[in-house]
């Protein structure tokens, strides 16, 4: 385990893995509030990295900077080998089609059915249809992978919280992304549904071989899914390591997260 301002380290592998996300010296301010103060992160191919931190520590701001929903004040954000600052609108949209994003509140389009929700990203990315001429096979496949093929014609208001999260996960998968970002994937869910969602995240990673960046407060989620955990405190990297390493830490700020 490293504390203070560690350098991001690749997991021990035989061939050097390729970075899918590289963030260097990221700063973001909202007026007087300096939320991110030089944050660094590297996520490697097929890796599950969990970012933990208190509310207001800048996790959500960081993940929004990663997909261009917010512009950083300083620093470099590189996703799938492309520096976000150099991309125009169309290039950014193309890049986004390779990124799946699971929102904290699911963010399903409430005026559309489940099918239409999943079809929506395909409207602009017809190339993702592959050899299919219709969207239905892809929609069905994505829904089957989250076990909700029967809900295809339901409206979001007819779904439970857990089902909404699973549909949102299917929507994040529909464009066959290389990278999935999860913003608090288990928040607001009961423990059983949380376990189901975590199980799905693991099976999706196994099936699609995606890299995942997970922002969570849920220590159980981090324990099950994380290959590496990064602790964000006051807008900077505070500690980094595996669950085993961090949970043994005697540092009070790290302990505060991991002690039962």
């Amino acid at each position: 385990m490293e504390t203070g301002r560690p350098h991001s380290q690749a997991p021990q592998r035989e061939t050097p893995p390729k970075a899918v996300i590289r963030i260097r010296d990221l700063h973001k301010r909202f007026g007087e509030n300096h939320v991110l103060r030089g944050f660094d992160l590297t996520l490697y191919e097929k890796e599950n990295l969990v970012v933990m931190g208190k509310s207001g520590s800048g996790k959500s701001v960081m993940i929004k900077c990663l997909v261009g929903l917010m512009e950083p004040d300083e620093g470099m954000v590189e996703v799938l080998g492309q520096d976000l600052a150099t991309l125009d609108r169309q290039e950014l949209d193309r890049l986004r089609s390779d990124i799946g994003f699971l929102f904290q509140g699911s963010a399903l389009y409430d005026s559309m059915t489940v099918r239409e929700n999943l079809e929506f990203p395909l409207r602009r990315h017809r190339e993702k249809l592959g050899h299919f001429t219709d969207t239905l096979p892809l929609v069905t496949e994505a829904l089957e992978s989250v076990g909700l093929a029967h809900a295809i014609d339901l409206m979001p208001e007819e779904l439970s919280g857990g089902m909404k999260r699973r549909v949102a996960l299917a929507r994040a998968l529909i464009l066959k992304p290389k990278l999935i970002l999860y913003d608090e994937p288990t928040s607001g869910l009961d423990p059983i549904t949380s376990k189901e969602i975590i199980g799905l995240m693991r099976s999706i990673q196994g099936k699609y071989g995606t890299a995942s960046l997970i922002i969570t407060h849920d220590v159980d989620c981090a324990r099950v899914i994380a290959e590496r955990i990064l602790l964000l405190v006051d807008g900077i990297n505070y500690a980094e390591g595996s669950y085993g390493e961090l949970s043994q830490s005697t540092d009070p700020k790290v302990e505060a997260f991991f002690k039962k």
Partner: protein, 260 residues
């Protein structure tokens, strides 16, 4: 001192909002001509907006026609000008009352509806979800709605004008024993293209500002449920004020043309 400061803050807010709205409208014109065109969504919005407002416009128009005629009758009888009633009502309804009242009704109904709908989509991160999936939410949500209000408002004005004239004719039929045929012949004799064209043209502008303001307020809605309410409320206020401003400009410009 506080009072002066308050006025200064209001002036700054007004100037900032005017600038942002101008920028928003510039973005609308850039995006409106950029494919893909969301034709299905545009038709859905046309249907929803027409359907949502038609009954209210018809009822209000009918009552205004009735009241205007009932209120004007005694004065016109006093001057022996009862036979001028269709001319007076026709011109005032077609030139001014019909378009402005319809626009104000739509400002209340449509602008607030759009403000609340887009506002809640912003708050629940649905707009962010569209953005992240590489689709263009501005094109899908804003362009379609603004175009729909721009197209639907003149149609609603025509319906409102006709029903107001019918209400007026009804009063004349029962109180002045004037036949419907004579009433409408007198109305159309009194009207010229110079009455229809500016009224129709300004109705397009009314529709445009109503849609634009509703979308602007909703699209940039502040977080929280209070933000949604505020977006809906301020959309009505701003759209109503802009309707009067556009009306003033339209009358001013058409006056110049008449003088030429």
């Amino acid at each position: 001192m506080d009072y002066l400061e308050n006025i200064w803050v209001r002036i700054i807010t007004f100037l900032r909002e005017t600038g942002e709205l101008a920028e928003f409208s510039g973005r609308f014109f850039r995006e409106a001509f950029r494919p893909p065109f969301e034709f299905r969504e545009f038709l859905r919005q046309c249907y929803q907006m027409g359907n949502r407002s038609l009954m209210l416009v018809l009822i209000t128009g009918f009552i205004i026609g009735l009241v205007l005629t009932l209120q004007s009758r005694p004065t016109l009888i006093e001057f022996g000008a009862e036979s001028w009633m269709p001319n007076m009502v026709g011109i005032s309804i077609v030139r001014e009352i019909g378009p402005v009242i319809t626009a104000l009704i739509c400002a209340g109904r449509i602008a607030s509806g759009i403000g609340a709908e887009l506002g809640s989509m912003r708050v629940t991160e649905q707009i962010d979800a569209m953005e992240v999936s590489g689709t263009n939410p501005f094109n899908y949500l804003v362009v379609t709605r603004v175009m729909a209000t721009t197209l639907m408002l003149p149609l609603l004005v025509i319906f409102g004008d006709l029903i107001a004239l019918y209400g007026s004719a009804l009063v004349e039929y029962f109180k002045g024993a004037m036949s419907f045929r004579l009433y409408f012949n007198s109305v159309f004799d009194a009207l010229s293209f110079g009455d229809f064209i500016p009224a129709t043209v300004k109705s397009f502008f009314f529709g445009f500002v109503i849609g634009l303001v509703g979308c602007y307020k909703g699209y940039y809605c502040k977080k929280g449920t209070a933000g949604v309410g505020k977006a809906a409320n301020s959309a009505v206020v701003m759209a109503s004020l802009l309707v009067f401003f556009v009306d003033f400009m339209a009358v001013f410009i058409s006056d110049i043309f008449y003088e030429l």
